[in-house]
Amino acid sequence: MSKDKLKTAVLGRRQMLKSVGLGALALAGTGLGSRSAQATPEKANEYLSKMTSGVAGTQGKVTVKLPEIAENGRTVPITVTVDSPMTDGDYVKSVHVVAEGNPNPEVISFNLSPAMGKAEVSTRMRLGKTQNVRAAAIMSDGSVFTGTKEVKVTIGGCGG
């Protein structure tokens, strides 16, 4: 390994330590080469904390269902389920989905209501490459819960 490469590797590790200590960041090192218009775990974190207005999320309650391997990244089914009774007093206000390896981190934001009776939403998304997909749920009392799922993508689906 050349000296230059070593430097970037070390820098990458430091940045990683500085950023929020979410376990999902283990992948950060691999993305360093492609600096262009690309979402990174840091950017995804930034976007999520903007959506939750700074409240740090607790892991749990949120299940992100995606296939282990997505052969075609153009359309990948995703289901987000939140463990909540969905009553007038205790429900999920919104669910935000972010992708760590797409050109932009934001995917979709759902606004839920007690009239749903069940906190489960499904849609189909694009995935540019193998990456983590995260979801954050904001509850009616203001607390935030998160869930993560890694997807392996064979053919990316973001064009460009």
Partner: protein, 108 residues
Amino acid sequence: MAKKPRVKVPKKASSGDIIQIKTLMSHKMETGVRKDKKTGKLIPRKIINKFVCKFNGKEVMSADLHPAVAANPYFAFFAKATESGTFDFEWTEDGGKTITASGDITVS
């Protein structure tokens, strides 16, 4: 040339049932990062950016979409059947154009 969206709302339900609603909208969802192969120019973004589902005028679920949502946006979600009525669905495209659909349910 916009094709009609497809919505699936159960026709009948008992009060208190949790029913599933499915919608499928036919739309290209142009991301704005793709390049025209001939000219090399970026194809401008054109996506559905908002989806709203209302029941008898009251919002049940809505979503803000970004380019990472796949073409032909599909949604499946749930609603609690409390009374007979109509589910109204509305999709908003970049540029403000809206497309609507609806489905009736009889609750016994």
